[in-house]
Symmetry: C2
Subunit: 137 residues, 2 copies
């Protein structure tokens, strides 16, 4: 059984991927933090260190949303107001490994940092689905 | 002028890279968190989700320390007990972009997540040094 805080952070992570998958720029703007610094590392981009630049990057990316989904998120809690999530991203049968960092602000958990990096690996559950004879946890 | 919290987190980030550069396994073990979940994503590795596996990975990596240094760290604070740092890593004139996540534990700021990803870019100061005629912030 997961803790309430873990569940809240996993829900915030799911909101992020729903906005990403649906190309919902207004939702993406709403879920990025406003009460302090934010940073973002898209694959192949320079680091983005300002909220305005980060939202502009999502506006560009979400113009053609890539059909993304998230697998196997793992939460690391950082006191009552911080958390990071490590997860796999699936985009058209290719995979990335991502770090998403969240801050609890006045109106809930907000994403304040994102890094995604291509990988040749596959998440555990996808590996299990694609190889019925192989036992995978 | 940076805040005291930012300075403490930057110092913890520096300790991490000093242990990395010096191949100091005991120090690396000491600076990883013990009061909750920890995760680690080395380039090309599967995600590591257990402290024992993370420390074992560092023992293997630090057997031949790669001569790493950190450039241009940017701190994102997450309340009083959490922070993330985005920074560049330089290893033999190649570069990575990294996320390091820290948790304030009973005996200070501890690293609890690390992700590094190769990049073809270069950090601002290095770009400025290598191109005297180019104005870079």
């Amino acid at each position: 059984m997961i803790s309430r805080s873990d569940a809240e952070v996993l829900f915030a992570n799911e909101r992020f991927y729903n906005a990403f998958a649906q190309g919902d720029g207004a939702e993406m703007n709403g879920i990025w933090g406003r009460e302090g610094a934010v940073t973002c590392l898209h694959p192949g981009w320079e680091p983005l260190l300002k909220r305005h630049d980060i939202i502009a990057s999502w506006t560009a990316i979400l113009a053609e949303p890539p059909g993304i989904c998230c697998h196997s998120p793992t939460v690391v809690m950082l006191g009552q107001h911080g958390a990071s999530v490590l997860c796999w991203e699936e985009i058209q049968r290719t995979y990335m490994l991502a770090t998403n960092v969240f801050r609890r602000e006045a109106d809930g958990w907000k994403i304040v940092h994102h890094q995604a990096c291509p990988t040749s690996g596959t998440p555990p559950k996808v590996a299990a689905h694609s190889s019925a004879s192989k036992s995978v946890n």
